[in-house]
Amino acid sequence: MPAMQIRLDPWPVDTLDGQLTLTPFSGELIDVETPRWAAVAPRPIPQRLERVYVVDGKQRMEARLHVTDDFGREGHAGFGAYVAGAVELCPHGSRQAELIDIRARRVLAHAPDLALSPLLLSPRHPQTGELAYALMATQPGGHPLAPMQAVQGAMLAHEQELSHGLASAVPFDDTDDREHLRALTIQDGTLRSRNLGGAVVGCVKTIQTLYLPTDRAGLLAELKPGERTPILHMRYDNNRVVRFIWYVRLCEAAFYHHPMSGVMRLEMYAPEDSDFLPPIVRQVAGLSGELLCKLASKPHKDSRSPQNLIPTAALEQAMGRSMGSLELVTRRIRSHLARELGLDVGGAVA
C-alpha cells in the first residue's frame, strides 16, 4: 500500500478554483504532431514575429432593472458594461508594452419585446464624463439572467473580433504559404466561440479537466520550464469544438506543490480533418515555451502565478479602471432617476 501523500495546490484557497482540479476527460485525442510521447524542447521566437497581443475581456452588471415601456409592457432588463482590450508587446523586448483599445461600452440589455430608448446619464460635474447606455435585446424567454448573458455575449464577441483582427491569419490549407506568423494573439481562457481565422492561442490557466489519459499524464510532471508536450488534436464527446492542444511548463513546481503545477494548457483552432497540422500552429507551439516563460508572473506579485501572465494582470486592472467605480455609477443611476422623477436629492449624488 503506497504511503500517504499530501501536495499543495499552488493557488490560494480563496480563488474560485484551484490550479489543478484534474477531472478525467472522455473524448477523442489524436497524435497529430508525433506519435512519440515525450517532452519537446522550446524553439527560439522567430525574428519575423513582431507583435504579440494579449487579449482579455471583462463585463459586469451595473444594475438589475424592471422596466415598463410606453405601451405598458413589462420585462427584465439590466445596465451592463463590458470591455475588451489588448496589450501589444514585442516578443523580443525591443519596445515597451502598450495598452491598446481599452474602452468600456455600456448597454441597456432588455427583453426583446420592449420598446425602449437609449439612455444618457449626465453627471452633475462636467469633468466626470457621461454614461451612455446603448440598447441591446436579450434572448427571448424572459429569464432573469438573460440581460447578464447578453452582456457577456457582447463582450465575448467583441473580444473575439479584437483577437482575430490583430493576429496574422492561419491558413488551413497545405498549399497556402502566403501568410507568415507576424502577429500572434494570446487570448485569456479557453477558445469559446467561432474561429475567425487568426493566429489566436488560448491560454487556460487551470487544469480543470485532465485531457490526457493516465499513462500520458506523467509527462506533465516531468516537463522542465519551457518544455511542452507534443500537439494533440482534440474532439469533445459532444463533437462541439475541435482544437489543437498542448501543455507547456512555465516554472518549476516547488517540492510542496503538486508536481503538475506550473503547467498551462494552450489551444488553437483545428480543422475537422485530423491529419493536417497547419505550420503556423506548429510554430506557435514551438515558440510558446520561451514566450510564456517570459510573460509568466512571479508568486510574490500574483497569487495566480505563473499562469496569470504579467500583461494579463495589467490588462485586467486597466479594464476594471476603464469601467469606472461601480459605486459612482450606481449613484449616477440613482441621481438620474431622481431627476427624472423631479426629486431633489441634494449633494449626495455624483
Binding site: 496589450v87 523586448g93 515597451q96 508594452a97 495598452l99 469633468q127 517570459k294 504579467i310
Partner: protein, 617 residues
C-alpha cells in the same frame, strides 16, 4: 487694491491639469504635466478656476516639487518588466505648486482638471506681486527662464520695511557678491529716483544714495571701480548654457559696468610713532586712502567703549569704562591738535614713563601715542597717590577691577596703536579722517581685513556709531546702505558688546533714519535674533543642511531648505514680504573686478608710468 483679473493667456499652451488624486488646496496643489511639456522646480504657473456663480479665480504659484513615477504598477521590480516590454505602464509626471497669490482673494481650492499654464507677461507680474510694487520694483535677479524677478524697494529703503539679510556658507554662497549686485541694481536701475519722485521729494533719489561696505576678507572689494576682464566671456557662456534670449545684464536692464564714485579706505600700515601714513593694502597701489583717528578724537568722540568687545561681561568693568570715557572726554576739551594734553601726569610718581615725553608750551604733557595714553590712565588709576590712584578716577572701584581694565587696554594696545595717533598735523588729521558721507563719493569701501579682531570691532563700531549719530541729526532723506559680512562676529546671539548695541540700534531704528543694513553671515542661528528678524528681505545662498533646519530658516518651505544645500554660486533664494514663498534667482557675474587678476585693461598707461605715479615722480 485687487487688479482686474488677468487670467493666463487663454491661447497659451497648457502644461498640465490639476490632479484629482492628491488634495488640491488654496495654498498647495499637484498637477499632472501634459505629455511633451516640461516643468521644473521654480517655474511660475497660473491656474484659473471658476466659482459656482461663474466668476473666475486665479491661482498663481511656484513649482516646488516635481516627480515622475510608473503608474499602474505595484512593485518596485515592475520597472524591469516595463523596460523588458512585458508589462504595460505609463509614466506619471506631476508637479507640486505652492500658491503665491490668489486673485481675487477667494480661498477656494482649484478644481481637479483645471488647466495649468506657465505664468508669463501679465500673469508673471501677478504671480510675483509686481503689480503691487508699482514704481518700487527693481531687479533682484533672473528667474530660471530669464524673466526678471522684482524686489520691492519700499521694503528695502525703510518705507514699508527695511534691511536685507543674507545667509550662506562662505566661499560658495557668494553673499557679498549678491549684496553688491543688489547695490548695483538699486543705484543703476533708477528705482531710487522713481520712488523719490513718487514720494514727492521726501527722499533724495539715486544721487543721495550712499553705501558703506566693510571689506572683511582678502582685498576682494578694492577693485569695485575697475571693469572685470572676464565678465563678457562668463556672461556669454552663461547665456549659452542657460539658453537665455539675451545677455543677463541686458535682460535685467542694468549696465554691465563697474561701480562709480567709490572711495577706498584702509588702515595705515603699522609702524613706529611718527612714521609716514601709508595704506595697509597689498594689491591695490593707487586710490586707497589711509584712515586714522587722532587721540583727541578718540577721547572727544567717546570711542573708548569700542576698544572693549566684552565690556558687558562685568558690571564693574562697564562702570570703569564709562567713568574713564567721561574723564577722557573732558580732557579732550582742553587745547587743540591731535595730541591730548594733560597737566596732572606727575612723571616722578609714575612707575613707567614713556621714553620721549613731549611737553607743550605750558608744560603740559602732550600724549602722542595710544600706548602713552594707556600709561597715563594707568598712572591715574593705579600709581598716583602711592598706588591709591586719583580718587576722582578710581571712584572706589577695587584695584582688581582697575587692573583688569588696564590689562585689557594693554591687550588691545598693539592693535589699535596704528589707528590712533597723536602726532598728526591738523592738515594730516583732516586728510586721514574717514569721511563716509559728505565726501562726494557714493560708495565707501572700508578695508578692515588686515586688522586684527579687536581693531575690526573698533573700526566698525566707531564708524557705524558716527553714521548713526550723523543720521539722527540730519534725518532720513539720504538712504545709506551698510554692507557688513560676518554679523555673527559683530552681533553674536549670546553676548553683548558696544558694537552689537549699535547694530541693534540700526536694525530697530535705522529704518526710520534711512540707514539700511545689508548684513550677511554664515549662520543666522548665531546672530542676534532681533537683527535677523528685522530684515524685510531675506536671502539664502548655499547653506549647511544642518543649519538649514534651524528655526531661523523656517521661512523656507521644506523643499527649499533641502535645496539650499545644493545651490550653486550665483544662485540665491530670495524671500520678500510681497511674495509668501521664496523665489530662486540667478544673478550675473560681477561686472566689476573682484581681485587684481580680474581687472580689465581700462588703465592703458604703461607700468613705468603707473610706477612713476606711485612713487610720486
Amino acid at each position: 487694491m485687487s487688479q482686474p483679473s488677468t487670467p493666463g493667456d487663454p491661447n497659451g499652451p497648457r502644461i498640465g491639469m490639476v490632479l484629482g488624486t492628491e488634495d488640491a488646496t488654496p495654498t498647495s496643489f499637484w498637477f499632472s504635466v501634459s505629455s511633451g511639456a516640461s516643468v521644473q522646480l521654480d517655474d511660475l504657473v497660473v491656474v484659473q478656476t471658476q466659482k459656482p456663480d461663474g466668476r473666475p479665480v486665479q491661482f498663481y504659484g511656484l513649482v516646488d516639487n516635481v516627480r515622475k513615477r510608473h503608474e499602474g504598477v505595484v512593485f518596485e521590480s515592475d520597472v524591469e518588466d516595463v523596460v523588458a516590454g512585458v508589462l504595460p505602464a505609463s509614466v506619471s509626471y506631476a508637479a507640486r505648486v505652492v500658491v503665491t497669490r490668489v486673485d481675487p482673494e477667494d480661498f477656494i481650492p482649484p478644481q481637479p482638471g483645471d488647466t495649468v499654464q506657465h505664468a508669463r507677461g501679465e500673469a508673471l507680474k501677478m504671480a510675483l506681486s509686481a503689480d503691487k510694487m508699482e514704481d518700487g520694483a527693481f531687479p533682484a535677479g533672473l528667474l530660471a527662464d530669464g524673466q526678471i524677478m522684482p524686489l520691492n524697494f519700499r521694503f528695502v529703503n525703510g518705507e514699508q520695511g527695511g534691511h536685507i539679510n543674507i545667509s550662506g556658507i562662505s566661499g560658495v554662497a557668494t553673499k557679498t557678491s549678491y549684496a553688491l549686485f543688489l547695490l548695483h541694481s538699486i543705484f543703476r536701475s533708477g528705482v531710487m529716483d522713481r520712488v523719490a519722485h513718487k514720494g514727492g521729494g521726501g527722499q533724495a533719489g539715486t544721487a543721495g544714495g550712499k553705501a558703506i561696505i566693510f571689506n572683511v576678507k582678502g582685498e576682494d572689494l578694492l577693485f569695485l571701480d575697475q571693469p572685470n576682464a572676464r565678465v563678457v566671456e562668463k556672461e556669454g557662456k552663461a547665456r549659452a548654457t542657460k539658453g537665455l534670449s539675451d545677455e543677463r545684464y541686458r535682460l535685467l536692464g542694468l549696465p554691465m559696468e563697474p561701480f562709480r564714485d567709490v572711495q577706498f579706505l584702509a588702515p595705515p600700515r603699522p609702524g613706529n610713532p611718527g612714521s609716514a601714513i601709508v595704506p595697509h593694502v597689498d594689491q591695490r597701489a593707487l586710490g586707497v586712502t589711509p584712515f586714522v583717528f587722532t587721540l583727541r578724537e578718540f577721547c572727544a568722540a567717546r570711542m573708548l567703549p569700542y576698544a572693549f568687545s566684552d565690556a558687558a561681561q562685568s558690571l564693574n568693568l562697564g562702570f570703569v569704562i564709562g567713568n574713564i570715557e567721561e574723564k577722557l572726554a573732558r580732557l579732550s576739551a582742553d587745547g587743540s591738535g591731535a595730541a591730548l594734553l594733560v597737566s596732572d601726569w606727575k612723571l616722578d610718581e609714575a612707575e613707567s614713563v614713556p621714553d620721549d615725553v613731549q611737553f607743550d608750551a605750558l608744560g603740559k604733557v602732550s600724549i602722542q601715542t595710544f600706548g602713552d595714553l594707556i600709561s597715563y590712565i594707568e598712572f591715574k588709576l593705579l600709581e598716583q597717590n602711592e598706588g591709591e590712584g586719583d580718587p576722582k578716577w578710581v571712584l572706589k572701584q577695587s584695584p582688581g577691577t582697575l587692573r583688569a581694565f588696564v590689562r585689557r587696554l594693554r591687550g588691545v594696545q598693539k592693535y589699535l596703536s596704528p589707528l590712533l595717533r597723536g602726532d598728526l598735523t591738523p592738515v594730516q588729521a583732516a586728510q586721514y579722517r574717514p569721511n563716509l558721507l559728505t565726501g562726494g563719493y557714493q560708495m565707501s569701501v572700508v578695508d578692515i581685513h588686515n586688522l586684527s579682531g579687536p581693531a575690526q570691532m573698533f573700526v566698525v563700531g566707531v564708524l557705524l556709531r558716527d553714521l548713526f549719530e550723523y543720521k539722527e541729526k540730519n534725518g532720513r532723506q539720504d538712504t545709506v546702505f551698510v554692507v557688513l559680512d560676518e554679523l555673527n562676529k559683530y552681533a553674536p546671539r549670546d553676548q553683548s558688546s558696544p558694537i552689537k548695541d549699535v547694530l541693534l540700534d540700526i536694525a530697530e531704528r535705522g529704518r526710520s533714519l534711512g540707514i539700511i543694513l545689508i548684513g550677511a553671515q554664515q549662520t543666522a542661528s548665531e546672530v542676534e535674533r532681533r537683527i535677523v528678524s528685522n530684515a524685510a528681505i531675506r536671502v539664502v545662498g548655499r547653506l549647511d543642511l544642518a543649519e538649514a533646519e534651524r528655526p531661523e530658516y523656517r521661512f523656507l518651505p521644506q523643499s527649499f531648505r533641502a535645496r539650499a544645500g545644493i545651490l550653486q554660486p550665483g544662485t540665491m533664494l530670495v524671500s520678500q514680504p510681497d511674495i509668501p514663498n521664496p523665489v530662486l534667482i540667478q544673478y550675473p557675474f560681477p561686472a566689476w573686478a573682484t581681485r587684481q587678476g580680474e581687472v580689465g585693461s581700462s588703465d592703458t598707461r604703461s607700468d613705468e608710468e603707473q610706477g612713476a605715479e606711485i612713487l610720486g615722480l
